[in-house]
């Protein structure tokens, strides 16, 4: 039995990445390197107001004084920040095209290949898409329909100009530029991303979605997303990502801020499938992402769901600050690492208000030679009377060369807080496979069933269309080049 299992596991260890193509399109970029000139170049390209440029430059000054965070359980090679392009846009994107007829057909084809049609009539019913290609937003669909409800869904570059008051008020209010070096970096050079505003008592009738694509070589992608849900509103937002297959590593350092006012709810789902590198660990995206939600108002709710299968290195902790009384924070995560991928991911739940509740469900799956760490921080501040947290962290190991680590921190300054923590580490072992096969299932069916069963609790949190997609992605991440 050993030989066959090893063979199958080895097959799984070779990932197949079907999004690895490059679109051959002429790009407009500044010189490599990070300095005031680069920042001014970006700001000018985006035709930004003065205050935005100053904000960027201030962030840059902070970045200069900061060093990279080093506490994660990751081996991160030195990143030469002067050897990266900080902006890349398909030629002719000084102004965002008014409609798709002005967009280079090559770009539209790229998104079609990725399965993200931009023509509205073809867009999945009920999903509005904002597509970001390298540093610029290519198209936002369904915009008109949403405007009728007072919902703003556009690129952040546009919002800086069209809704400066909202941007000024909230940008950096949840993730201050000086939070850590990657937030300072992003604040200095962010290029594009989405902006969403849901007015009072409005339930956004469709899923809002952003699709990020890194295309140009040696280019960093620094997306910035800001979502504001006003009192009593609701929005569900989805995010997907891919990148071409390259030998060199690329940097992606995003900042996402969510703000939920009284009785508002934001559901944020991510399927992250950046290029993970090849089976020897060459290439792949460095995914250093800061995502933080503020439950500002009472009875507000923010729910993060993520399926992380890509990237060479993932460093990501979608968090919730539970400020409003009775507010709720949730984090559901599946992180799959294969080959030489490394992931250090988890969440931070900060309970400030009374009766605040948080729930963390984390599922880590390690294959090949990969390392997968859950890192969580649950804290209860002095006034968080009767706050509660439930945490469940499960790890699944496939093979015997990978590692799973669970690092939960709990910090309570209020003695009425209640914390529950459950953790498990299990292995798909020979006996389980033998058992499944004795009941007539093939090796692959058995592994896929065991892993999907393991992730089910999280996958069922995803919106319908996404859940099916995510399930497929999970199977692909396992299958490798099964022929």
């Amino acid at each position: 039995m050993k030989s066959e299992t090893t063979e199958t596991l080895d097959k799984y260890a070779i990932d197949k990445y079907k999004y690895g193509f490059v679109t051959d399109i002429e790009a407009d970029r500044p010189k490599k390197g990070l300095n005031e000139e680069t920042i001014k170049f970006i700001s000018k390209k985006k035709d930004e107001p003065e205050w935005m440029l100053l904000w960027r430059l201030n962030s840059f000054k902070k970045w200069l004084k900061m060093s990279q965070p080093e506490w994660a359980n990751l081996k991160i090679p030195d990143i030469d920040f002067q050897d990266i392009y900080y902006y890349s846009a398909p030629k002719g994107f000084e102004k965002k095209p008014k409609d798709l007829s002005e967009v280079d057909p090559k770009l539209i084809e790229t998104y079609n290949k990725l399965g993200i049609p931009l023509q509205e009539q073809k867009v999945l019913a009920g999903v509005a898409v904002d597509a970001v290609f390298d540093s610029v937003s290519v198209a936002t669909t369904y915009k008109g329909e949403l405007e009728k409800l007072g919902i703003v869904f556009c690129s952040i570059s546009e919002a800086v100009k069209s809704h400066p008051d909202l941007v000024k008020k909230y940008l950096g209010s949840v993730i201050p530029p000086g939070d850590h070096s990657y937030s300072a970096l992003n604040s200095a050079v962010f290029t594009d991303g989405s902006f969403v505003y849901i007015p009072e008592n409005t339930k956004c009738p469709i899923e809002l979605s952003t699709y990020f694509r890194i295309n140009a070589e040696e280019t960093g992608q620094f997306e910035r997303t800001l979502i504001i849900a006003d009192r009593g509103s609701y929005v569900s937002y989805l995010e997907g990502c891919t990148a071409p297959q390259r030998d060199s590593n690329q940097l992606h350092a995003a900042n996402v801020e969510l703000i939920a006012l009284d009785d508002a709810e934001i559901k944020y789902s991510t399927v992250q499938n950046w290029y993970p590198g090849d089976e020897d660990g060459k290439g792949g995206i460095y995914n250093f992402v800061t995502k933080r939600g503020l439950c500002k108002g009472k009875n507000s709710k923010i729910s993060w769901t993520q399926v992380e299968t890509g990237s060479a290195i993932t460093w990501k902790y979608p968090s919730c600050i539970l400020k409003g009384d009775n507010s709720i924070g949730e984090f559901y995560s599946v992180a799959i690492t294969n080959n030489y991928q490394q992931a250090d991911t988890g969440t931070k739940m900060t309970h400030i208000g009374r009766n605040t509740r948080s729930k963390i469900i984390s599922k880590g799956i390690s294959l090949g030679n990969s390392q997968n760490t859950y890192r969580g921080n649950v804290s209860f501040l002095r006034k968080s009377a009767k706050a509660r947290n439930y945490t469940q962290c499960d790890s699944l190991l496939v093979g015997n060369k990978c590692g799973a680590h669970t690092i939960p921190y709990i910090d309570s300054k209020n003695n009425t807080a209640v914390v529950e923590h459950e953790a498990s580490t299990s292995k798909i072992n020979e006996d389980q496979l033998y058992y499944c096969r004795q009941r007539g299932l093939s090796h692959e069916e058995a592994v896929s069933l065991i892993v999907n069963g393991f992730c089910k609790q999280v996958l069922q949190e995803l919106p319908m269309e996404f859940a099916v997609e995510a399930q497929k992605l999970v199977s692909i991440s396992l299958e490798g080049s099964v022929g």
């Binding site: 096969r437 007539g440 069916e445 069963g453 609790q457």
Partner: protein
């Protein structure tokens, strides 16, 4: 048709010989029991029949339903109608029995060129079989064998058998770790499932199990081969004076 014929089977594991010139013939509709002391090779026999690749078959032949078993891997044998009720059924956290057993059943139906069952029909089958066996519906919501007691695990094996409907079921020391009540429930399940169109191989250490399931043949195994065959009276003989006379 030859149902099951094991001819001069020699099997080793890690270079150590376990089965020596082992012979056994089972016809459709028969219940055979194999008894023997620890280390006599009983569980090896069960695992070799199921296709466990940890064992090395040195020589000999097994014919099942006119097919050479050594041409088939574990899942192909299962699909052909071999069911092994494990001595220690393994826990599979997070996997519910419904999708698991539905996939199992469909792999078997496909092998028989029959139409596969859909989710709805399968849920009905599962519920009615569970009811028949006195398994409550709460248990069906749990993960396979996870946190089950010894008795619950064995009842789960019986449930799977009755749904997969194999022609040949092997019970590997099913009685180990069961109290009298659990043993009665499990054996009732086996008796209910028994027809003229299926056969059983019951591997056990004690006679107790055979009080509930009446085998047609009893074989005594020692050092890798059958040393004596007879009827149920052989089991009583062992109960009285142990294995020392064999």
């Amino acid at each position: 048709m030859i149902f099951l014929n094991i001819n001069n089977l020699n099997v080793t594991i890690d270079g150590k010989q376990i089965l020596r010139d082992f012979n056994l013939n089972i016809n459709l509709g028969e219940v055979h029991a194999i008894m023997g002391p620890n280390g006599s090779g009983k569980s090896t026999l069960a695992n070799v029949l199921a296709g466990n690749e940890d064992y090395e078959v040195k020589s000999g032949k097994i014919i099942f339903k006119d097919q050479n078993l050594f041409d088939l891997n574990i899942e192909e044998r299962a699909q052909l109608g071999i069911f092994l009720a494990f001595q220690y059924p393994v826990e599979i956290p997070g996997v519910n029995i419904t999708p698991f057993l539905q996939a199992s059943l469909n792999s078997r139906l496909k092998n028989q060129n029959k139409e596969e069952v859909d989710n709805l029909d399968f849920a009905k089958i599962l519920r009615s079989k569970a009811q028949e066996l006195g398994i409550n519906s709460e248990m069906l919501k749990r993960s396979i064998n996870t946190g089950f007691s010894g008795g619950e695990k064995k009842r789960y094996e019986i449930l799977q058998m009755s749904i997969l409907n194999p022609e040949f079921a092997i019970f590997d020391e099913t009685d180990s770790g069961l109290d009298v009540d659990a043993l009665r429930i499990v054996t009732e399940g086996i008796n209910k499932f028994k027809t003229n169109n299926n056969s059983f191989l019951i591997i056990t250490h004690y006679q107790k199990l055979l009080d509930y399931i009446k085998p047609d043949f009893v074989h005594v195994m020692r050092d890798g081969s059958i040393v004596k065959s007879g009827d149920i009276s052989l089991a009583s003989e062992i109960e009285e004076s142990g294995y020392k006379n064999f």
